[in-house]
């Protein structure tokens, strides 16, 4: 296993700048997640590390050495694609064995057998080894894809949204398995996704990509509790964070479009900013009692918790509470905000 470093990577496709000044530093055995919406450049970053794309500027280091001019085959990285990665005319066993049979590796057959059956056991697909891949379900196919990467025992695993095409339930279970496998095998993994729950649950560290630039790197807690800007704040957390504009008045910040006044943050130089964006996470809005008033616009019961849409003035705030509270649509509602957990952002969206 090894560490991976990206330094100042720049890559463009025609008019589209896919990656701009990207620096990344993965530690050995880390489960590192690249999170961002579609088109943010995450897949490009992965492909640059694998050697499937050549960057325009910048360097890629594997184990401290530059690999900029090294062919993908020689970089010793394993790539798990989102789809279309299994060879349809071969059995599962042959698919798993394929990387080991390459002219580069020339592994003896008994070694191949050992690794293939080992990987099949870890992924619980031993019963599928003789089947043709065309007859597998979506979840089974992705397990085989991951198995193909595991047999290689590579320096690093690169995974490009491997779970995105699967049903919600399958994603949940495979996600936990993946994390468990990574921890027990100790494999350095770079995992790309647009699903923030996936990122929060599996990652040791997350890097958030926005339009080809890295805007924040940190542990799941860092990203969730101290988002660097409004983009990151809105990206993680379900339901999404509430963002409202507020302007300075006497005694605090007045939320635009309602008559709520919230306390101002203490900035480092003691001055209160003129205009801010305030972020409140749904779980930090506590309905039932409090100084603010609103009306219940929508109720979404999820069983374990209930999402309440509270309309106050022009602004609708989304709150989430445990269990099933006793409210009806249209009821007037009082609520409080956990003021110590408010997030403040300036006009550019950066954290204050």
């Amino acid at each position: 296993m090894s560490d991976v470093r990206l330094e100042g990577i720049y890559k463009r496709f025609g008019d589209n700048i896919a990656l701009e000044n990207v620096d990344l530093n993965l530690k050995d055995q880390e489960f590192f997640v690249l999170l961002g919406p579609t088109g943010a450049g995450k897949t490009t970053a992965l492909r640059v590390i694998a050697g499937l794309e050549k960057q325009d500027r910048g360097h890629v280091y594997l184990d401290g050495e530059t690999v900029d001019s090294v062919q993908p085959a020689d970089r010793d990285v394993a790539f798990v694609f989102q789809q279309y990665s299994l060879y349809p005319s071969m059995s599962v066993y042959d698919n798993l064995a394929f990387p080991l049979r390459s002219p580069l590796r020339q592994t003896p057959e008994d070694e191949i057998k050992r690794r293939v059956t080992g990987a099949a056991e870890i992924l619980r697909i031993t019963h599928l080894l003789e089947r043709k891949t065309a007859r597998l379900s979506g979840g089974e196919m992705q397990r085989v894809s991951i198995g193909r990467a595991i047999v290689r025992e590579p320096r690093i695993f690169l995974m490009d949204e491997p779970l995105s095409n699967l049903d919600a339930k399958l994603r949940e279970s495979l996600r936990v398995e993946l994390k468990h496998i990574q921890k027990t095998q100790g494999s350095t993994t770079l995992f790309v996704t647009h699903d923030q729950i996936e990122a929060l649950t599996v990652a040791d560290r997350i890097a958030v990509l926005q339009d080809g630039r890295i805007v924040q790197v940190g542990t799941p807690h860092d990203i969730y509790d101290r988002p660097a800007n409004t983009f990151v704040a809105q990206l993680v957390g379900t339901p999404r964070i509430n963002l409202v504009s507020a302007a300075r008045t006497d005694g605090g910040l007045r939320v635009v479009g309602s008559d709520m006044t919230l306390p101002a943050p203490l900035t480092s130089n003691g001055k209160m900013p003129e205009k801010v964006m305030i972020g409140v996470r749904p779980e930090d809005i506590r309905p039932g009692s409090g100084e603010h008033r609103g009306q219940l616009a929508l109720v979404e019961p999820l069983g374990v918790e209930t999402i309440l849409h509270i309309k106050t003035g022009e602004v609708t705030l989304v709150s989430v509470v445990a269990g099933v509270p006793f409210y009806r649509l249209g009821d007037p509602i009082a609520f409080a905000l956990a003021t110590e957990r408010l997030h403040y952002f300036d006009n550019d969206g950066k954290r204050v």
Binding site: A50, G51, L52, Q71, P72, A73, R75, V77, A78, F79, F81, Q83, Y84, S85, L86, Y87, P88, S89, F98, P99, S102, P103, L104, R105, T133, A134, S137, G138, M141, Q142, R148, R152, N165, L166
Partner: protein, 340 residues
């Protein structure tokens, strides 16, 4: 569930089919009316197909007719089959003198072909040029197809996967070559070939056909290769294969449908090609198309012979297409994650 009370204002139920619908189909396609329409349409299509086949069938029949039958008016559907046409096509004969005819008629050891020739007062002196020309067609069309498809698939792959500078322009350039009527350039090519010594050579014809087919082959194959997800060969490359190995082991097997289709099309073009064959060959490398119409006998046009020649000419292509039919018809299924 309790029975639903009948509503006096209810619209009467449209006719439910009395057939088992255990396949995927829209509601209106199942009714009696829809099935009847489907059957009528099928019958009409079959009739039209049969009508389309008539010229070919007629030609095949004519190949086996005797000379008088071939030109009979009204046309003869039922006739006594004869191999006269084939004999005319495949052999060179000379007229016999009257005494020779009598002599030959007395003999009992004549080969069947000689017997047929004797009916018209001729004897066989050797094979005609046709078999050799047919062979030339096979060689020239076959080899040029192999080259066009072989180079074509490599070029198509490059166009599909690599950022070739000026790719769009090059592709259009390639496609536009298809718009050129070959006839227009026969004279210049004739002059060039004469100069270089390629006139009437197999190599010259192969070279020419390959050049003309390459454009179509690249264009067609690129479409098929575009459909093959890059992830397949990228996975192989990351796993330790060079691009060429990945191409051979992964892309080519996936592209068989496209290659089969392209092979059939380029073969048909080269096989049927007339203008260049006529102008740029005379003897050594002459192919079948220009020579079939020249199968003229003394004393009238030998329709049976021409039909026989056309039939013989038709058969190789039919065989190739038949052999490749599975590839042409097979839907390509890519092993991928299924959605729902």
């Amino acid at each position: 569930m309790t029975a639903v009370p009948s509503n006096p204002n209810a619209v009467p139920t449209p006719g439910a089919p009395n057939v088992n619908v255990n396949f995927s189909t829209r509601v209106d396609k199942v009714s009696r009316g829809a099935r009847w329409t489907r059957n009528v349409r099928a019958v009409i299509i079959i009739i039209i197909a049969l009508i389309m086949l008539i010229p070919t069938v007629w030609m095949a029949m004519t190949a086996f007719k005797s000379r008088p039958d071939a030109v009979a008016v009204p046309p003869k559907v039922f006739f006594e089959p004869s191999l006269e046409g084939f004999v005319s096509l495949l052999t060179n004969r000379r007229q016999l003198t009257a005494t020779e005819i009598a002599e030959y008629q007395a003999r009992t050891d004549l080969a069947w072909a000689d017997q047929i020739a004797l009916v018209r007062g001729q004897t066989i002196i050797g094979p005609s040029d046709f078999p050799r020309q047919l062979l030339n067609s096979l060689i020239i069309a076959g080899v040029s197809t192999i080259f066009s498809v072989g180079f074509g698939v490599l070029a198509a792959y490059a166009f599909s996967r690599f950022p070739v500078p000026g790719k769009d322009d090059l592709l259009f350039f390639i496609l536009s070559q298809r718009m050129l009527p070959p006839v227009v350039v026969t004279i210049p090519i004739f002059l060039m070939y004469r100069q270089v010594g390629l006139y009437d050579t197999h190599f010259g014809m192969i070279l020419l056909y390959t050049a003309f087919n390459l454009s179509f082959s690249v264009w067609l194959l690129k479409g098929f290769i575009d459909e093959i997800p890059r992830e397949y060969e990228e996975a192989a490359m990351v796993d330790g294969y060079t691009r060429l190995q990945a191409f051979r082991k992964i892309v080519l097997p996936q592209a068989t449908t496209g290659i089969a289709a392209t092979t059939v099309f380029t073969l048909i073009f080269s096989w049927n090609e007339y203008a260049f064959a006529l102008m740029l060959t005379s003897d050594v490398a002459r192919t079948a198309p220009p020579s079939i119409p020249l199968v003229l006998g003394t004393g009238g046009i030998e329709w049976a012979a021409i039909a026989a020649g056309s039939l013989a000419f038709l058969i190789p292509v039919v065989i190739v297409t038949f052999l490749l039919r599975k590839h042409l018809l097979r839907g390509v299924t890519f092993g991928a994650i299924r959605k729902g």
